[in-house]
Subunit: 131 residues, 2 copies
Amino acid sequence: MTATFPTAPDSHALERGAVLAPSFDANGLIAAVATHAATGEVLMLAWMNAEALQATLDTGEAHYFSRSRQALWKKGETSGQVQKVVELRVDCDQDAVWLKVDPQGDGGACHVGFRSCFYRVVEDGKLVERP
Amino acid sequence: MTATFPTAPDSHALERGAVLAPSFDANGLIAAVATHAATGEVLMLAWMNAEALQATLDTGEAHYFSRSRQALWKKGETSGQVQKVVELRVDCDQDAVWLKVDPQGDGGACHVGFRSCFYRVVEDGKLVERP
């Protein structure tokens, strides 16, 4: 699948326009933050290329791009932690998206086993697990 | 100011350790998502280099790295929208941080004038402003 999005012609179109014109970085990626649609908790932060964003829009399930594997990645394909997208927002300069998701499977999002990937708080310079 | 952080020796230390060992990308950056400490709303997504992260930890106020200006950037320095950090979390592979912040000034975070940078929803492929 090839996916292409337009480029915003100017900053007004980028910031106030009705056209989805993602500003991909030099690696062809935008940042994607997923929050739990019911609780608001930040679950994970990942990246999308054009193909992942298009697949997410087409299917209503979150797709990302794995920087380590350099491959499209449907969240939950192996873990069952599929993310049903309830709402997708884009930020002012269209280089980040915010997905409100309904996690399927065991309801988690993190490969380590926690509900959210952000299970550690920085306290006095040290990391403390506080899921 | 120069800031350095250790590198995690293995994946267990990275994922379960108590040592803050951010995994900066090829450009020396990690992603940072800021949510409103009171409402949970995602306010913005930006980047931090080591210096920005250290300054944030030292001062309790959010500092980022501007990719467009290639410079350290204290949020709110000109706008007054200083972000008091209530809690700072790091994700499983330590390449992203989540800041819960208390926005000062007019309480907003976005240069366009909205409270959150994510003021547009993607609906049927089009962007709809819904602050």
